[in-house]
Symmetry: C2
Subunit: 332 residues, 2 copies
């Protein structure tokens, strides 16, 4: 289902920058793919890209319009349809990561058909997968895991991909969530796969590769998140990782969405992930900690990272502040 680029990023009438987080992630990680933005009246977000209509973007060579804005409920408001249809009429594919499907909008479907374009509802896998086989595959795999949801697993995997490539290694980010899929241009929204096929879908996503190649697999959820741990475990087994990086947000007071659940201890969380991963790869190691320190001061952040390095005996980085060099130093 690879999504053709360059992209026109549609951020509609996003109420603030947070609502355009998906588009911002794409613009940050794939600036070379992001040609323009399209905003509707009232939009409060700005990606700092040239403003273009679908007609203008298509004329300059844009091949897909990405719905890069989120809202409560993941709906596609009716007043976005005209822009989507316009993009299709000018020869672009349209991709959305919202819960609501482009393929449920009759006028959008008709425009796609009339113009021979593809609608990518990346949250809803359309392909069928096999069940997981649990076999070690050639090539190397790193999986970002976490103490909780939304603690930087995608950002960390992308930062490691970038650092490896800058060092001349071959490496591929493997996307398991909506934003990651737009950034990779391909992937599987793993939480939307039928339960029987979670690990099989990740085996498909990260196929055998050259012996020196690293796949950087985007983790989801946490083994300690009572809502989503099944997804995290299936993903862990399917990724068959050689290396884990544990991601953490140190100011969070409870598990995301579950006020009655405290965060797990980092060491306990590392051990639980290693124990589960050893089922498929007895050689797995945890090689670093990735901490989102954005809510700490610079001095507090430095102190915390030093403490964590000392306590867990592995590099502790904030990819946004320190980079991931010391973690990548440990890859082989």
């Amino acid at each position: 289902m690879a999504i053709p680029h360059p992209y026109l990023l549609f951020i509609g009438d996003a109420a603030d920058d947070l609502a355009a987080k998906t588009a911002q992630g794409i613009a940050h990680w794939r600036p070379e793919w992001c040609m323009a933005q399209m905003r509707l009246p009232g939009c409060k977000a700005d990606l700092g890209l040239p403003e273009m209509s679908p007609a203008e973007a298509a004329a300059k060579g844009c091949r897909s319009m990405i719905i890069g804005v989120a809202n409560a409920g993941g709906v596609l408001p009716a007043h976005w349809s005209a822009s989507i249809v316009e993009a299709l009429q000018h020869g672009m594919d349209v991709a959305s990561g919202l819960h609501a499907r482009l393929t449920d909008l009759p006028d959008v479907v008709a425009a796609a058909r009339a113009n021979g374009r593809v609608l990518h509802d990346v949250r809803h896998p359309t392909r069928e997968f096999d069940t997981g086989k649990g076999k070690k595959r050639s090539g190397k795999r790193l999986l970002t895991v976490g103490t909780d949801c939304s603690v930087g697993k995608m950002y960390t995997a992308l930062a490691i991909e970038k650092e490896l490539r800058q060092r001349g290694r071959t490496a591929d980010f493997r996307a398991t969530g909506q934003t990651g899929i737009f950034i990779a241009g391909d992937g599987v929204s793993i939480d939307a796969v039928v339960a029987d096929f979670i690990s099989g879908a990740v085996e498909w996503l990260s196929p055998p590769n050259d012996p020196d190649h690293w796949d950087l697999v985007e983790g989801q959820g946490s083994l300690f998140h009572a809502s989503f741990a099944g997804v995290s475990l299936g993903l862990l087994h399917g990724a068959c990782p050689d290396a884990l990086v544990m991601c953490h947000e140190p100011t969070r007071t409870h598990m995301r969405g579950l006020k009655h659940y405290p965060l797990p201890d980092i060491g306990e969380c590392i051990e639980a992930n290693l124990a589960a991963a050893r089922l498929v790869n007895p050689e797995v190691r945890c090689i670093g900690l990735s901490v989102n320190t954005s809510k700490l001061g610079g001095e507090a952040a430095r102190k915390l990272l030093a403490e964590l390095e000392h306590r867990h005996g592995m590099p502790a980085v904030d990819p946004f502040v320190t980079g991931v060099g010391t973690i990548v130093d440990r890859l082989w």
Copy 2:
């Protein structure tokens, strides 16, 4: 989606008794719901029930015809359609646990619509679930877990339900697989739920209940099965169990479908399940072992059960041979 009973069990042209395993399970556990069987020419299985056509069964009060036969690929052969349509024309619902859907057969759909009947494709959940919340609910819950797939988790949960009811307790078997759903008349085929909603679906399946009530939740897979552990973990968290029973088949040489995976050690498997279950219920206990000794001799079976009781410090039963009384003795 409750399936109305009594049932007419359709076993088609089953090549042997194993192919009619689903129907046999229903006839064994719900004899009072099973009025008749229907066989096609060449059928090699026999449930020992009266033979009836759909017309005869409907006239005697049957309310659903159950497709109680499995085949490789889970397909619905074209030559079954006439019998299915006949059942609908005589006022019965039709239920199937096959991968292929009744609702994909135009003549079957037309007959259901014309006669105001319901088609139950129990392998494919149609309802939407919330994500799991991980909150302890009133009432008590026992979950059957396993060292592997197909080691007696459904049978054990049903045997405990029966024993509890015979002792005058209120108890409900909660079905998570196709055969279990026909036996309960309701349930969720948990491996077919979208991954994000595994634990939420089990929370829905086992709602708050009276403080003295036991839910007997049917487990699936194994935390040590590399294909399906994500399903098992989500089910474990959603069930929020007070008690676990570990199910095991002692002659199996490798994990089902995965020849390169040995069976886990029973003690290690108990500990892994308890550790994972403590996230949602710190008080959880493993109260017994349920062993399918059908491939051992009587003396070898007795010896093994005695050894396991000694080694693990809890009752070890074969529900088919010894009953589950000593396990139920430990419920509170």
